[in-house]
């Protein structure tokens, strides 16, 4: 075999320069973003990086991800082999053979076996892309990029084939003293040995194929979606340490810009996310908006940020202006307003993303721009915003009516030192006639278990969840400050809530305002009361028939409460609740999160109908929820489907049934 350093070295240097230049160009665009601290708690970050990047935890959550796991780890092992290949191409004397023999032989064996494994995985990937591509592979703008996938697969396949060809020829020529440690290459050598005259040219040919494909791979990498090979690992390192179930605060000073409508108003991490997207489509397949025919597709939102940055970034670096708007237009690199308003903030996209991209906060940032800078939003929201500002509840009902639900009950006001818990009723539980029944049921349970609790009564205000998710951060900021002050004045430390939206807001959002509360959702509290024996049921609830549980996004995915409500149902009914196809962290949104509760749903299929149909397939007699919004969406959906025989109950109502005397 004749390697030729005189030709190869300049090629390698050229490819290297091109690679470094390409990477520099792209990464320098990321620095256009605003500052954000993602360097705290390095131990946790390194841990996450190992778990999600090297451990591929999210990747293998889907069966075919195992194929990626194999390719990833093969890549890691073969990085060494290819490194040696490049070095040897320049300085033939430098080789892994210089290592101790056992180590060298071990490596050769590993390279040989891993290369075969890779080849198999690549063939599987080919077959999948051609014969059984998943529905979420393509989108309006990303479809063509599937070609990227094929190019890379071909590159890797060629590398493996050339590897075996080269080593097979070398072994056949007797140039490989360690042939015994290369079982696969030796098999190839056996075949090639029949053509002794071709061995030398073949070895050269395979060497050059290997060399050129490798250089092409290096050059192609930063310009394709396979840039994730470079960015995915650091992206897992820089990922949000908290669940991204809330949004960053904004500071309201005169002359400020609020929200994001230009790509360089995102933070650097937002931009880095866009370079980390592998375009795998898992967010898309999990998204309730995408599944029901809305224009929102989380993958496309991330892709739009990347395309926009690539188009505008270089101009901005030279002091120029934006050429593609981030918001407003149809087309690659932009998001339409309809897209931005379609998000239910359910978090399914972020739960699915193998490289921990944070989609939802980016959408909220764009909503903030529309609401705060331009006052542009779907017209249904005008009433909501005014009601929230004026009367601190979404319906605009007089705050003096906040105690109507308990007009005939004897309920104590919350008083520090006298009552242990504040029962924060929430607007739905206070004003919505159906949810009021849940409030009464829960009050009954609390009393039956001897819990010490009180309410704020007319002083209670809305937590502000909907306005925050809708991007009206200015109003949320005011509501949050008022509530935080109220809680601090009253000395509230432990709060019971029945609404997952209040739950998440009090627990996670208010922490940004310096208020650390012990917030407990009624699902968890009832579970504890039942488990400790403080709450004893008089009978097992049978009259609701078979019971199905639906996970609320803000209880489950955003706050990891999955088992408690199921345990409660198990205790109350004597059997485990039925499960839908999509449940727990894969649960499908009811359609009301993210302020969508207050908006019309004009395009595509209704999200709640999609979910109701899924629930009906389980033939349950009763659908159980733990969220007032979910309850509304299910009841509406069941009416639409004329499925009046199926009941909807909150878990508290089921338990309250069990408290009725036998």
């Amino acid at each position: 075999m004749t390697t030729n350093p005189a030709i190869f070295t300049p090629l390698l240097i050229a490819a290297g320069i091109f690679f470094v230049w390409s990477c520099y160009r792209r990464f320098s665009l990321v620095t256009l973003g605003r500052p954000e601290d993602r360097f705290d708690r390095l131990d946790r970050r390194i841990g996450d990086m190992f778990l999600y990047a090297f451990g591929q935890k999210r990747v293998v959550a889907k069966p075919f991800g195992i194929n990626h796991f194999i390719i990833f780890w093969s890549f890691m092992v073969l990085l060494l082999a290819n490194g040696e290949f490049l070095v040897k191409g320049v300085i033939p004397a430098l080789s892994l053979a210089l290592l101790s023999a056992p180590l060298y032989h071990g490596l050769l064996l590993a390279f040989d076996l891993v290369s075969l494994l890779t080849l198999a995985a690549i063939l599987l990937a080919f077959a999948r892309r051609i014969f059984f591509p998943p529905a979420y592979m393509s989108t309006a703008y990303v479809k063509a990029r599937s070609a990227d996938g094929f190019v890379i697969l071909v590159f890797i396949a060629l590398l493996m084939l050339a590897y075996f060809g080269l080593h097979g020829a070398e072994i056949a020529m007797g140039n490989e003293p360690a042939a015994a440690f290369m079982p696969i290459s030796s098999q190839i050598a056996g075949v090639l040995a029949s053509y002794p005259s071709l061995l030398t040219p073949l070895a050269s040919l395979f060497w050059w194929i290997h060399a050129l494909v490798l250089l092409a791979f290096i050059c192609f990498l930063p310009h394709s979606k396979h840039m994730h090979i470079l960015t995915a690992i650091p992206n897992c390192f820089f990922a949000s340490l908290e669940k991204p179930n809330t949004q960053p605060r904004e500071e309201f000073v005169k002359g400020g810009e609020f929200g994001v409508d230009k790509v360089d108003s995102f933070t650097w991490k937002d931009l880095f996310d866009s370079f980390s997207c592998t375009e795998c489509g898992r967010c898309q397949s999990a998204c309730p908006a995408a599944a029901t025919g809305k224009s929102l597709n989380p993958r496309q939102v991330i892709h739009a940020i990347k395309t926009n940055l690539l188009a505008n970034g270089p101009l901005l670096q030279r002091g120029g202006a934006h050429v593609i708007p981030l918001i407003g237009e149809e087309g690659e690199g932009s998001n339409t307003e309809e897209t931005i308003w379609s998000c239910t903030t359910c978090g399914a996209c972020m739960e699915a993303c193998p490289v921990l991209i944070e989609h939802m906060p980016k959408i909220i940032k764009m909503r903030r721009h529309l609401v705060e800078m331009e006052s542009r939003f779907p017209e249904e929201l005008l009433n909501l915003f005014e009601n929230m500002e004026q009367r601190s509840n979404p319906w605009g009902i007089a705050p003096s009516e906040r105690t109507k639900w308990c007009a005939t009950m004897d309920i104590k006001p919350f008083e520090k030192g006298v009552t242990e818990y504040l029962f924060y009723i929430g607007c739905a539980g206070t004003f919505d006639s159906r949810s009021k029944q849940v409030t009464v049921a829960l009050a009954t349970i609390l009393d039956a278990a001897g819990v010490s609790w009180g309410i704020l009564g007319k002083e209670e205000k809305c937590c502000g969840d909907s306005v925050r998710r809708l991007g009206n951060e200015f109003v949320f900021d005011r509501m949050a400050k008022e509530n935080v002050q109220l809680f601090q004045e009253k000395g509230v430390t432990k709060v019971i809530v029945q609404c997952p939206h209040c739950f998440s807001t009090l627990k996670n959002d208010y922490r940004q305002y310096g208020l650390e509360l012990e917030v407990i959702h009624h699902g968890e509290l009832i579970d504890q009361l039942l488990a400790s024996g403080r709450l004893k049921l008089n009978r097992q609830v049978q009259d609701l028939g078979s019971v199905l549980f639906h996970d609320s996004c803000y209880l489950g995915r955003h706050n990891d409460v999955y088992e408690a409500p199921r345990d409660v149902l198990r205790s109350a009914t004597g059997q485990a609740p039925l499960e839908m196809e999509r449940s727990r962290n894969n649960s499908f949104c009811c359609g009301a999160g993210g302020g969508r509760m207050w908006m019309e749903e004009f395009s595509g299929e209704r999200i709640n109908l999609n979910r109701v149909d899924e629930a009906l397939r389980q033939n349950a007699d009763t659908i159980c929820t733990a969220c007032p919004y979910c309850m509304t969406m299910f009841e509406d959906g069941l009416k639409d489907r004329q499925a009046g025989q199926t009941k909807v109950r909150d878990i508290a109502e089921v338990v309250a049934e069990g408290l009725r005397p036998v």
């Binding site: 309201f252 002359g255 400020g256 609020f258 939003f377 009367r391 007089a398 705050p399 003096s400 200015f474």
Partner: protein
């Protein structure tokens, strides 16, 4: 040419209750809002500003805390906000109120010609619908009440054509400027203030004109200038409702019963 929007701060009446003993409105702790009809007058003045580039002044007569209402107007985009506030203005009925507002508009007119004055059709606390027409009368402006659409404006020819929303019909009328319009809710959808504007309006100037500035003779303003006396405020007695039919066992029949009942009392417009 400038446009003047008259707005009033009113108690949020959905939250007002009547004291059963004294028969007066319980106002303690009740938040104030901009009179809902006035928000549409304000919005229309801002639309005219957007369209013709004219100046918009918002004026309001009220106690010092009514400044909040004018600050909202500034956040929405008016150029000038003036609070007419003085103890001697207090206790005014619709006549005395329209005297003060008309005088203020006259004073604004001295700075720049006033072409259009916009008011809500009525306030939700007094419900008289007299102040707008009163101002027009004092100023000698043409009054076009209950406007639900502006059909045409020609500032050159100084003419406006509007649609009035009357019971069961519409009326299209034309008048020369200057003109005073009182508007209904169907006219427009009020805008929502942007955050930069809100922040700016927080420390923008709301001018206060007291009677020292206005120089109005005391017998025409406040309690002294008010011939109207309110003798009593009370909640009307309401008949107790009744339960008809058996909705549980005969929902269809009961629904029919309800419809018949509503029809017989002429409560359903068919």
């Amino acid at each position: 040419m400038q446009i003047v929007a008259c707005i009033k701060q009113v108690p949020d009446t959905t939250q007002v209750q009547i004291d059963p003993v004294t028969n007066t409105l319980v106002r303690e702790g009740i938040p104030f809002i901009v009179n809902p009809y006035d928000t549409h007058a304000l919005e229309e003045s801002l639309r005219l500003k957007d369209r013709f580039g004219c100046r918009v002044a918002a004026i309001s007569m009220g106690p010092p805390n009514a400044e909040a209402t004018l600050r909202k107007a500034l956040a929405l985009g008016v150029d000038e906000a003036i609070l007419l506030s003085d103890r001697v203005f207090g206790g005014a009925d619709t006549l005395a109120t329209s005297n003060v507002l008309a005088a203020a508009i006259r004073k604004l007119h001295e700075q720049e010609e006033v072409g259009i004055v916009l008011c809500g059709k009525q306030t939700i606390d007094g419900d008289t619908a007299q102040v707008g027409p009163g101002i027009a009368t004092r100023l000698g402006y043409t009054q076009l009440t209950l406007v639900d659409r502006i059909e045409h404006i020609d500032l050159e020819k100084r003419v406006i054509r509007v649609r009035r929303k009357l019971e069961g019909r519409h009326e299209i009328v034309e008048a020369p400027l200057p003109v005073l319009l009182t508007v209904v809710r169907e006219l427009n959808r009020p805008r929502y203030p942007t955050v930069p504007r809100r922040l700016e309006s927080a420390d923008a100037e709301v001018k206060t004109w007291s009677n020292q500035i206005m120089q109005l003779p005391e017998p025409t303003i406040g309690l002294k200038g008010s011939p109207t006396w309110v003798s009593r405020i009370f909640s009307p007695e309401r008949d107790k409702g009744e339960i008809i039919g058996d909705g549980v066992h005969d929902p269809d029949g009961t629904a029919q019963l309800l419809i018949d009942k509503l029809l017989s009392k002429d409560l359903l417009a068919l």
